[in-house]
């Protein structure tokens, strides 16, 4: 079943379809959020809130811009949540009710493994340090373009910007990132 069909069936309260849609997007969104925040706890909360909002507003979703509309829409929700997290930081909260929140549980081993992997991923740490010094819109574009590998067209829908503007911003973001990395001598030389 294609994404469009899954979305339409989910709109008609089809649990199986929504379950498949969730499976398809969960890892994408979790990884996107994690690479932006580098914090597994917040990545869980932001991912949870993203899917809660997807479900809440699913009936309002419309295929305005073609078949990749849903992809752009879900990344838009996640990006908005990430930006809220950056604005609120410690005040960022999960929107699930407290009793069920406990059910979301803890998973020590998995978290430890991810944290270890993060510590060893020097390239991600270097890039993230540089990207965090950029304007929020540049951060959004670089992550969506180079980590999530979204097309400029999709990014333009996620950020509600003109595609040409996104291309220009992307170039500027890379140039600024280059200056930051040079200044801080943060780029590793190939052996």
């Amino acid at each position: 079943m294609g994404i469009k069909e899954l979305v339409e069936k989910s709109k008609n309260k089809d649990k199986e379809a929504f379950s498949q849609l969730f499976d398809f997007y969960y890892d994408k969104i979790l990884n996107y959020v994690f690479r932006r925040t580098l914090n597994i706890d917040y990545a869980k909360d932001i991912t949870s809130n993203t899917f809660l909002k997807v479900l809440k507003h699913l009936n309002d979703f419309k295929w305005k811009t073609g078949d990749n509309s849903f992809n752009a829409w879900i990344y838009k929700i996640a990006t908005n949540e990430i930006n809220q997290y950056f604005r609120k930081q410690n005040k960022y909260k999960l929107i699930v009710d407290e009793e069920k929140f406990k059910e979301l549980g803890d998973y020590g081993e998995a978290v430890k493994e991810i944290e270890n992997r993060l510590e060893n991923d020097e390239y991600l740490l270097v890039l993230n340090k540089g990207i965090k010094q950029l304007k929020p819109i540049y951060q959004d574009i670089l992550h969506l373009r180079y980590f999530e590998e979204l097309s400029y067209n999709e990014i333009s829908k996620v950020l509600s910007k003109n595609e040409t503007t996104v291309r220009v911003y992307s170039k500027r973001a890379l140039e600024k990132l280059k200056l930051i990395l040079e200044k801080d001598a943060l780029v590793f030389k190939e052996n």
Partner: protein, 166 residues
């Protein structure tokens, strides 16, 4: 070892070197999925069918009908204040008519008196009193050009009762 000068290609290569292997949190994933699937969203199947639209449409039409009746009723209903105003207006009209009639009568009477006075001021006029048709009258006889005109006024001399030419 670090690069002091880097190219745009170096930057793009850096992105490619990031570990793209997905992180996974199966427990969180399952719990979140179960939480979402047990949400109210999936509890009731809201299928909007034609009968729902008919019901809504019917309700709207009925409401419009009721509102129209209420509007028509209130727009045609004459308020007590308005009734009082109308009555006052009619009363004023009647009073006005009465006053006008009195005024016209007085004017007529004045004209009669004026006529008597005019007659009696002329030369060759003879005034007398007599009983005419069982009432006391004032008779004014005016002689002009060999014609005698006789006017009969009531005793108050303000009403011309009869006249004849001899």
């Amino acid at each position: 070892m670090f690069l002091k000068k880097i190219s745009m290609k170096n930057i793009e290569d850096l992105f490619k070197k990031v570990n793209k292997e997905s992180i996974t949190l199966p427990e969180h994933k399952n719990n979140l999925k179960n939480y979402l699937l047990s949400s109210n969203y999936f509890l009731k199947k809201e299928k909007i069918n034609f009968s729902d639209f008919k019901l809504v449409f019917g309700s709207v039409i009925f409401s419009v009908f009721i509102l129209s009746i209420i509007f028509i009723y209130f727009s045609s209903y004459t308020k007590p204040q308005e009734v009082a105003d109308i009555n006052n207006f009619e009363k004023e009209m009647r009073t006005s008519e009465t006053l006008n009639m009195n005024k016209m009568l007085n004017q007529a009477i004045n004209e009669k008196e004026t006529f008597y006075n005019k007659l009696t001021k002329k030369d060759n006029v003879m005034i007398s009193q007599k009983i005419w048709q069982e009432q006391e009258v004032v008779v004014v006889e005016v002689l002009e050009n060999n014609l005698k005109t006789i006017y009969y006024f009531n005793k108050d001399k303000n009403l011309l009762l009869y006249s004849e030419v001899k």
